[in-house]
Symmetry: none
Subunit: 216 residues, 4 copies
DNA sequence: TATGAATGAGTCTTCATTCAT
DNA sequence: TATGAATGAAGACTCATTCAT
């Protein structure tokens, strides 16, 4: 109020307002890190609220249920990335091999290497107990992801780069190692004494083997 | 617990006695199926006891805590299989490609296609809450499994069938899809509306791509 | 609060001012209908505020607590009716039987058949938790009501129409069915599958039996 | 075990067992007194359990829900009385006037003058919030009660003692004051400063007026 | 050994009330 | 005055674990 230049004449938000707009994001971030760290069921909503710096009641102002909170976490951190991704691939220049390699690398950078990588473990772990979450994940994440991969493979086949493989099976071959990698990283990978997988080398290896296998 | 699984014990004790000794095994079997079906947290010990035909109190006579029960389930259903497996591979006749294919198929038949396939999901889901379990799984399952795969690949390289690939990476390439398949089958695969993966075709595809990628 | 209900105030203040003074009345009306419809405990203050077209905070500007709001509702809707009623009976022409009949009918029209009929249920339901309210109701409603009935019966005895009954008991006989009717209407009467009492016939019957019983 | 005489050879219950059989009754009694004293919603299950001398969890061993507990209270204290009552009236000797008088007096002794008299207030107070309870009360209490009254009146008409009144209305006239009396006793009647109704005189008066009204 | 009655800590969710704006 | 974001106390219900029998 005291010093708004005319350029910002559009009523600057009051402090309270600004907090309100930031809240969902802060809660989502807190929820993601705790859900991933301790599992969905084992995380108390109170912890999430505390980590976001608010009280338990406030959380329920923004999310109707703990389950809703999880859905929002998924949407925010994964589902929302697809539109931009699709766009990006529409305009990709280069061979389909490069495209596939790029896709997997960039998936790693944007999801696999972020806290969001813990989500698949979460979802799979709770799938039976919360079927609605599993369905949601399917619709919002798996299906768009599979569609994206399929487009890349189809493009390679159309251009004569790839063999005429069975697409329905081949897509699994692409995303299976990615999902595996995320699961591993967020479970066994945390074991101090365990086998450590180097993600970048793992991905390169997967792409390498895969391309060896499907290129003509 | 210390002796061999009572399921395989053929002893001359009269029925009463035998039942007593069979108890832990029945509880273990009940626990496996319920843990896999409903998840560890969502399974009540009373259900396990009921399915095993005993009362809640009896279960605690054999297992100190619910967590102990889970550990025993893992030990009993996976770790114990390796010795026989190693033996079998020592005497395998045939090419290394055949050996790899055989290994993956037989893994599917003996674990992937049984209730035991639900165990990795259990372990990963509880890994952070029970680090001891994760470590146990590492030592008793992952490491022997990786060693087995490494032997097969090494055999192929030695015999000139396979390229001189980086073994440390390559082993991941082999077991990643298997673990993925088990996880999928026991989570998203249960979604009625979800993408269904045909396990046998999936494995064949994996082997196919893999061999295309690594054979000379 | 101290002045007469703003609903009846016709003053020359401009609209803004008038709205301000109208607020408590609107809140009271909203509170009455919701308390009666859903019960005191089950009505959220936010709903009351919303129905009155203000925000939750505003309600607390006018009423210190939810309980205070209930007290105001009772005061406003019942206690205030008695003066006019007393006046009316001072000038009644006709037999005492007619007077009794008229009294019960007109009570039905002015209270029993309005949302205010829900108040006794409210008061009785909360009587133990808020003894103050019960006392208030006693002083402001029950006692004036009983006094009114007693006057009618006394008039009948004096005029020789009625037997010399025990007045202390007889008054109960008059108002008991009325209170019962209000309670029934606002509780069991709402049960779709329940016994429905036709209020007018019920009252006529009561008066009929009563007059049969007390007239000479 | 140690000293069971042959006469009691039918295995005497162990202490634990005996407790178990007593528990529901103890809980029911505790629930009745607290529900009546403080209202259903305002009574915490933990208080009920404590008053019955058990822990919160134990209560849920015997009653699935707080609402179930209330239903059991109603059944135990009112609904269950009807069979015996019906039986009694089948064999009643005397005039229908006496029968009616007897019915109301004995209702007072067995319900009105016991803690169970608080139940109608409970039910009416919670009717909207728990429609299932209201329906239950209707079916289990109101309807049998009304049927009983109707039989008495019909008997009087058949024997020529009573006028040919409208039965549907007349039954209300009988039970309305009883329900009123119970409500009053458990709400306004508790007000130290309030009008006190003497139940026996009230009932006598009701019967007196009623019989004056309906006998030929 | 086996039972199952009893326990009570633990968690989500609601809502009257406060208070910064 | 008016707002509505924030609070946090409260309460029903669950379930692993214990222990008297």
């Amino acid at each position: 109020m005291s010093s708004a230049s005319p350029l910002f004449a559009i009523d600057p938000l009051h402090k309270r307002e600004r907090r309100k707009q930031a809240r969902p994001g802060e809660l989502l971030q807190a929820a993601l890190s705790l859900f991933v760290e301790k599992g969905f069921a084992a995380t108390r909503v109170e912890e999430v609220a505390a980590l976001a710096g608010v009280s338990k009641g406030t959380l329920f102002l923004y999310f109707e249920t703990k389950e809703d909170l999880l859905k929002a976490v998924i949407r925010e951190n994964i589902a929302n990335l697809f539109p931009a991704w699709n766009e990006e691939f529409n305009t990709f220049k280069g061979s389909s091999s490069e495209m596939l390699h790029y896709a997997m690398r960039s998936w790693w950078e944007r999801i696999g290497n972020t806290p969001a990588s813990g989500i698949p473990k979460l979802v799979m772990g709770e799938a039976q107990n919360f079927p609605e979450i599993a369905n949601f994940y399917h619709t919002e994440v798996i299906e768009p992801g599979v569609a994206l991969i399929r487009r890349i493979l189809q493009r390679g086949i159309d251009s004569g780069e790839f063999r005429k493989i069975d697409l329905d099976q081949a897509v699994h071959t692409v995303y299976a190692p990615m999902i595996f990698l995320m699961m591993w990283k967020n479970s066994m990978g945390l074991c101090s004494s365990g086998i450590q997988i180097d993600p970048v080398r793992f991905i390169d290896m997967q792409v390498d083997v895969l391309l060896h296998g499907i290129t003509i």
